[in-house]
Amino acid sequence: MIGRRKKALTATPDGVVAAERAPEIPAIAQRTVPRFGHGSRVPGWDDAVDLTKDPSEVPDPATTAVPAALRAEIEAHMAKYPDFHSAAIPALAAAQRHHGWCSPEAIEQAACVMRLTPGYLISVASFYDMLETQPVGRNRVYVCTNISCSLCGADALLERLQEETAGDPDFNVRAFECLGACDIAPMASVNDVYIGPITLDDVAPLVGQIREGLPPLPNKQLRRRKSTDPGARS
């Protein structure tokens, strides 16, 4: 047997290794649901169905209340495409904005408007990293930990950010795959604003700014950055 396994086997697709590497799991995430080190969710492998529930069919408008604003937004998305199914991701994103995450209620509402089963939408929602199928804090801090950023110290940055926000339910600090901003490595997307390079000293002021609703690290925002190409500066 190979393991000097210290923990009982946890039933995760990562199996033993995920359990062994427990210290890598962000503290913040442990508080809600255990997460894999790399931001992926612990899936419902061990979940049986609840036999007292009714089967989940297309929600009937007669018994499903949908906020008017959400309905209007989803219907507008549906109208944009030749096939309304294309609006699945925009509809889920809208439902997530309204509900904070893709809760069962949010998905049922989106499914009711789109005349799809909630199963269709959870299948889509759980495929994409940005659609949250578990409750999360409202401040999204995605820290890129892919190769280029980690070569520039992203793992330490993630750790510091998680320490700094530990215990704060308003924060959703998670490792993310390459965010497409390796020129400002190590970087993070803070409520959709790209900032970098972030030094460890930036972390405390950054978290403060997020808490107060101020623009995060204004001088390090990507949108202000000029091109590095000498040819572009003609």
């Binding site: 290794v17 899936p43 089963t117």
Partner: protein, 823 residues
């Protein structure tokens, strides 16, 4: 729509030249050269290949990369290799990958012994694994529904089950969640996967990840034997294979027949076999002695029945239920007509239809077949709900729409589960099919004023017009699927003529691929009419001089004391037939009620004087006739329990006692006599019918079907739909789950139906009731209690209730208008 034509090409596989149909996928084409290419995800029944499992990689000359044989159509001159080292390495690799996280708990796995993963690992695997990390383990097994257990450790993510749910049943409840190595099969938010066809995923699963809860650990493949027959629980008559161990049916599997079921089964067909082996089965003849039903010997029961029938003479009425076979119906008619001189025999619930209309509606030139549903240009679903009336046809209609772009038109009173697939949908008031047919035929260019007819039908003019538009512009091949209920009631014959007028405008006579397809109320509804279980027709639809009473007439006459004996063959009027109050009176008033039944349902328990134990469908031999004219053969899979005798034998014995020996000593003899007596069955033999059935309308004897005028007919002005003024129009339906077999099968107990009143939210608002409230529905004479179920799709002004259920069934109500009031 023309069916794809088959052209043969030749290609080379593993050095041998092989002929195969053009366009076939290599996996299938290889079989023509006796080469098996292993697959997991490929299943042609599920539609386009997905190429996910990568098990079928083969080498094709001229293509550098290995190709998936499941998705590569064979071409003339192709050179394919499946046994080169390169292919073998790839196959070994895929098996190794698949087994990385497969628990290999075969000794305790239900699938062991009949498992494709076992077979393929043995046949194409490398026989070793270099994966020394611990495997993943999960809690197992878990419930996926009361019928299905899921074992996610064993799942190899072949996509079959979710493809079934999404692309075949289209219930879209079973989905994949998460992605990559985390992907798993599940439902939304822990809801159970309960749907009419969910059981098919058990059969599709190539590993032991999805297992049948009722079958789990009941048998190993070497303990069992398979026995082919036909499911007799509904008119769809799917071909099945019973899994039998020690004279018990333990499982029902599909026996693929493209012309009948396309290889699928509904959950009733798959799990209601349990009702065969319940304690409630009647296994002894019973006789009512001093008010109690007591077991007696056959002779005593037969003598008592013969004596009572002799005494009643022509004051006898007989009802044959839908599960009656052709032979039994034929013999019953013989007993009633020849033995007793009575003509009071019926197998339809809805009244007498003139013979020429029977002949016209099923004229061979107008007869559509099941595959026509898939290849037509347009299908009209008229006054029926396929998923309830003949479930497997629902899948066939969906398949046509999805794969062949069939234009579907739905015209029903109650919202249909096919509505989302339809190109046009029209609603009409319950029971107003006559006016609707008149309106539709008018919109298709017939006579009348469309606005008036549509209003009479309670339908929207624009909807009718849109429906007509879809049907008339789709193409030549139009199939009309209609429910028997369309021709029910006192005005049934007018509705039938209206239907024929619609057909006359849409269906080209004698044109293959189009026509009418009736969904009878009973399993063998069509066959029973053909063998003469009608008040106005003898065997082969021959006219009788003095027509007898129909079902409603028998009830009324018996209730009024004009009939002394009632003969109920596989029928319990209190459960199955409308007019519950009249029937209750009829059963109470009759001196003698003779019943053939496997189960003592309430009407029999209280009123039967003689009960003959009946065979279950797994024990029967005989023939039944599919709605499209296919005569199919029931074959006994297990021995009869207790004292049960074949119904043909009981009826023959009874007939003999009544002085009219039909000379039948065995089941096959009964079939022979039947085939000889029915002109259009001439030439049929049990051998010819075999396991696949024979469609007589396509045979040489079809010319013997009586000629009839198929229209167009001049129509009377149809009556107007009642105005729901403060009250509501009552519509009824019988769900797939409403049957004693379902109620008695332990696995299906959870399906037990409680009466629900389906209402539009606006009506509910006006009545001051909310979703889930308890209400009573009915009039002063009778009421049923129900729970309010709000549905936005229910037309305003109507309420829908279920019939055929054991309590609070809607057959207690007379139809028309009803009040809905909070309880």
């Amino acid at each position: 729509m023309p069916r794809p034509e088959q052209e043969t090409i030749s290609f080379t596989i593993d050095g041998n030249e092989v002929h195969a149909p053009k366009g076939a996928m290599l996996v299938d084409a290889a079989k023509f050269g006796d080469v098996e290419i292993p697959v997991f995800c490929y299943e042609p029944k599920l539609g386009q290949p997905v190429g996910a499992c990568r098990m079928c990689l083969v080498e094709i000359e001229g293509i550098p990369k290995l190709q998936t044989a499941c998705s590569t159509p064979v071409r003339d001159g192709m050179v394919v290799n499946t046994i080169t080292d390169r292919v073998k390495e790839a196959q070994n690799a895929i098996v190794e990958f698949l087994l990385i996280n497969h628990p290999l708990d075969c000794p305790v796995c239900d699938k062991g012994g009949e498992c494709p993963l076992q077979d393929i690992s043995f046949g194409w695997g490398g026989g070793r694994s270099r994966f020394i990390e611990p495997k993943r383990h999960f809690v197992k097994p878990l419930a996926l529904s009361p019928l299905i257990a899921i074992d996610r450790e064993r799942c190899i993510l072949c996509y079959r089950c979710v493809r079934f749910s999404q692309e075949i049943a289209e219930d879209y409840q079973l989905v994949l969640q998460e992605r990559g190595a985390h992907t798993f099969v599940a439902t939304f938010d822990g809801h159970p996967y309960v749907a009419p066809f969910s059981g098919n995923i058990i059969e599709l699963c190539p590993v032991g990840a999805l297992t049948s809860q009722p079958y789990r650990f009941r048998a190993r493949p070497w303990d069992i034997e398979g026995s082919g027959s036909v499911c007799a629980l509904c008119p769809a008559q799917c071909n099945v294979e019973f899994t039998v161990r020690d004279e018990r049916v333990l499982r029902v599997l599909a026996r693929d027949h493209d012309d009948v079921d396309d290889g699928w089964l509904c959950d009733k067909g798959r799990f209601a076999y349990q009702s065969v082996h319940v304690d409630q089965r009647v296994t002894n003849p019973l006789l009512r002695v001093d008010g109690e039903l007591v077991p007696v010997g056959w002779d005593r029961a037969l003598d008592a029945a013969a004596a009572a029938l002799t005494a009643a003479g022509d004051a006898t009425g007989a009802i044959a239920g839908g599960e009656t076979t052709n032979e039994e119906g034929f013999l019953l008619a013989h007993v009633i007509r020849a033995g007793l001189g009575s003509a009071n025999i019926d197998s339809r619930a809805g009244g007498t239809l003139p013979l020429e209309l029977h002949a016209a509606l099923h004229a061979t030139a107008l007869q559509a077949t099941v595959p026509d549903l898939e290849f037509a240009h347009a299908v009209l679903v008229l006054d029926c709900e396929p998923v309830d009336d003949a479930p497997v046809l629902d899948l066939r209609i969906r398949k046509g729409v999805r794969r062949n772009d069939v234009k579907l038109a739905v015209a029903t009173s109650r919202p249909s589960s096919l509505d989302p697939n339809a190109a046009a949908v029209a609603r009409f008031a319950p029971g107003m099919a006559e006016a609707f047919c008149a309106a539709l035929s008018c919109a298709l260019g017939g006579s009348g004023v469309l606005e008036e007819l549509a209003v009479a039908a309670g339908a929207g003019v624009d909807e009718v017009r849109a429906l007509a538009d879809v049907l008339s512009t789709a193409g030549d091949d139009v199939v009309i699927v209609y429910g028997e209920r369309l021709t029910d009631g006192p005005r049934g014959e007018h509705a039938a003529r209206g239907l024929l007028n619609v057909a006359g405008r849409l269906v080209a006579v004698d044109h293959d691929g189009s026509g009418l397809l009736e969904l009878p109320a009973g399993t063998n509804g069509r066959g029973l009419r053909e063998v003469g279980v009608l008040p106005n027709a003898g065997p082969g639809l021959t006219p009788v001089n003095d027509p007898g009473l129909d079902t409603a007439g028998i009830a009324a006459a018996a209730a009024a004391g004009r009939l002394q004996a009632l003969y109920l063959l596989h029928a319990d009027p209190l459960r199955d037939l409308p007019g519950r109050a009249t029937w209750a009176a009829a059963l109470a008033a009759g001196d003698t009620v003779i019943a053939h039944s496997a189960l003592l349902t309430e009407g029999l328990w209280e009123h039967a004087t003689v009960v003959f134990p009946a065979e279950s469908y797994a024990e029967k031999e005989g023939t039944i006739t599919h709605p499209d004219g296919r005569v199919q053969r029931l074959r006994p899979a297990i021995a009869r329990p207790g004292q049960v005798r074949g119904e043909w034998q009981v009826l023959a014995d009874l007939s003999r006692r009544l002085g009219h020996d039909p000379g039948i000593l065995s089941g096959p003899m009964a079939s022979k006599v039947l085939f000889d007596a029915i002109p259009f069955y001439a030439g049929l033999t049990l051998d010819a019918i075999g396991g696949r059935g024979v469609r007589w309308p396509a045979g040489p004897a079809a010319t013997a079907w009586p000629k009839a005028d198929t229209g167009p007919f001049g129509l009377e002005t149809p009556p107007h739909a009642p105005t729901p003024n403060g009250v509501l129009r009552l519509g009824t339906f019988r769900s797939i789950w409403a049957s004693p077999e379902v109620e008695l099968s332990p696995a299906l107990k959870f399906m037990h139906q409680h009466q629900r009143a389906e209402l539009h939210p606006a009506d509910a608002g006006r009545l001051g009731v909310a979703h889930g409230d308890r209400v009573t529905v009915g009039s002063d004479e009778s009421r049923v209690r129900a729970t309010v179920s709000l549905r936005a799709a229910v037309p305003e002004g109507s309420v829908f209730l279920e019939t055929g259920i054991s309590v609070e069934s809607a057959n207690a109500l007379d139809g028309g208008l009803v009040e809905v009031a909070p309880e």
